[in-house]
């Protein structure tokens, strides 16, 4: 005779599960991954595979031998970290550097805090920033995309944001630089220079819509992030259109879409209430624009998100949900 089970209510569980969420994100990343394979060819595949496999291996080894827990690599979170890390590097990055990046992302940014759910900073971004600081040359020479499957040495060139930063720095005006900048159509579809995952705004948006449809993320963070960037840059553009480029360019260029849709919305490192999410998105947006317009780096998304990650515990403390029966006097 089977024994009856006794437990506290509720006795039902919804259909949401950690695995479903994580694999949902992986699926949402597929379009952007396909675009990167298309434009950067075999090199992109090798970099992505290296990142994913080394993330999985490091997570397994650390859990098994250092933390002595049951390894949980099948939950998909390490795969996401791997893909996002690969998305944040140029396809010409040496493979050994990619492995180091994966070790930093998983070992330092995730596991040293206790594993999934306990890391204050987005692991992929920590890995990326570590690589950027350690190997600045390799991390900032982007091969220009060519839609063929070849291993022939690609020509490297700056990203649109890099062109802009350099040009403005030299004292050129926007209209002088216009010829060197890609068309908005190319920036939307993906035919521009840049890191693996950030080139195609369209593919990223598709993934984002999929995640919203699956209720993995809500629209609060991406919308407030993108809107803030748009409004801030629009104001600057109005003030001096020859010095500050128009807001649409800012939305499509660089890692903004990737950051706003996939990195800033990382559940573990983002606030938990809607109001908190809006503030967090706003903060990310302001910091990104500040770095892009006046900082020394052409791109500021990863720094902006990492800085806001650090503020998340405070936001969670300060922005409580509206309690039922609170307002009525």
């Amino acid at each position: 005779m089977n024994l009856l089970t006794v437990s506290g209510s509720p006795h039902l569980h919804g259909d949401q599960s950690l695995k479903k969420i994580m694999w949902g994100v992986v699926i949402a990343l597929v379009p952007a991954m396909m675009v990167s394979f298309w434009y950067f060819g075999l090199a992109a595949i090798i970099i992505t595979l290296t990142a994913v496999v080394s993330c999985l291996i490091f997570e397994y080894l650390i859990q098994k031998f250092l933390l002595k827990q049951a390894p949980t690599i099948t939950d998909g979170s390490a795969i996401i970290t791997g893909i996002l890390l690969a998305f944040n590097v140029p396809s010409s990055l040496p493979v050994w550097q990619m492995v180091i990046g994966a070790l930093v992302a998983i070992g330092i940014a995730k596991m040293s805090y206790g594993g999934l759910g306990k890391n204050p900073f987005n692991p992929a971004l920590v890995g990326r920033v570590f690589l950027l600081i350690s190997f600045p040359v390799d991390m900032t020479s982007w091969p220009l995309p060519k839609p063929i499957w070849s291993m022939v040495d690609a020509i490297t060139g700056p990203t649109p944001l890099g062109v802009l930063k350099e040009g403005i720095g030299k004292g050129d005006t926007i209209s002088q630089l216009a010829a060197q900048l890609p068309s908005y159509q190319d920036m939307f579809i993906g035919g521009i220079g840049g890191s693996l995952g950030e080139i195609s705004a369209a593919a990223l948006l598709l993934g984002g819509l999929f995640m919203m449809y699956k209720k993995i993320i809500t629209c609060h963070i991406p919308v407030s992030y993108l809107l803030t960037v748009f409004v801030f840059t629009a104001i600057m553009w109005q003030i001096n259109p020859e010095h500050y480029i128009n807001p649409l360019f800012h939305l499509l260029a660089g890692g903004l879409m990737l950051g706003a849709i996939f990195m800033a919305t990382d559940m573990v490192t983002s606030p938990m209430t809607y109001r908190g999410m809006l503030l967090y998105g706003f903060g990310c947006g302001v910091l990104t624009v500040l770095i892009r317009l006046w900082g020394s780096y052409p791109e500021g998304v990863s720094f902006a998100i990492l800085i806001m990650n650090a503020v998340v515990p405070l936001i969670n403390k300060g922005f409580k949900p509206k309690r039922f029966g609170e307002v009525i006097k």
Binding site: L3, L4, T5, V6, S7, G8
Partner: protein, 288 residues
Amino acid sequence: MNQVLIYAIIAISSIGALSALILFFVAQKFKVIEDPKIDEVADILPGANCGGCGYAGCRNFAEAIVKAGNLDNLNCPVGGNTVLKDIAPVLGIIATERSPQIAVVRCSGSYTNAPKKVEYDGASTCTFANNLFAGESGCPFGCLGLGDCVFSCKFDAIYIDEATGLPVVSNEKCVACGACVKACPRKIIEIRNKNKKDRRIFVSCINQEKGAPAKKNCEVACIGCGKCMKVCTFEAISIDKNLAYIDFEKCTLCRKCVDECPTNAIIELNFPPRKEKAKKEETVNTEL
């Protein structure tokens, strides 16, 4: 170049001197006058900050000792007699010897003695399970085996035996701080005298139900029959609410009650085997 070096040295040293001066005056102004004995006592205390003495930490306990001026009603369960003996001269008194104590789990409702009737599935905390239901065996007094005591122990002295589902206290590690006594929602754990060679006799049951319902859930429940009370020549055993209790101050470890108990609810620990008749193997696990 030399000049730069000299300026640097002068600047740094003058900043240092200035800071030292400021610090000195601040320290003078905000000095807290404290009984030096507190520091002395605190140094002697083990510094585990376990709270077993009833105070928040060792420092608070030291303050309490110095304030009281004696050691009556104050005990450091971790350091025991040695620590108290060291503290006594600081206070200018003579310490009285206390018998060492240990935590004792008063339940033998293992999986074999008290078979599961239902299965529990949920948060691993006795306090919640205690609010939810009577327990997997159905005994409303018995150990729930979810380990709140293990969680509360700062000395790693208690663990749940997987074979029986009951907590086991380590004779060596337990300092009788009483944290587990407070953590147990059913008050199963008691602090008792450790005795010589860790020999202990106690009623390993706190079930207050009448005989029949108690026995229904557990083979080794105390049914409150009172046989042990009658056989005890030292008046150490009392019966209250269908439950026998052995006063460890009066008990002389004669073991008569152990033989008398019809349900084997009374347990003897760490005794040598008897001469005439071989004692039945005990069901309770213990670290020997």
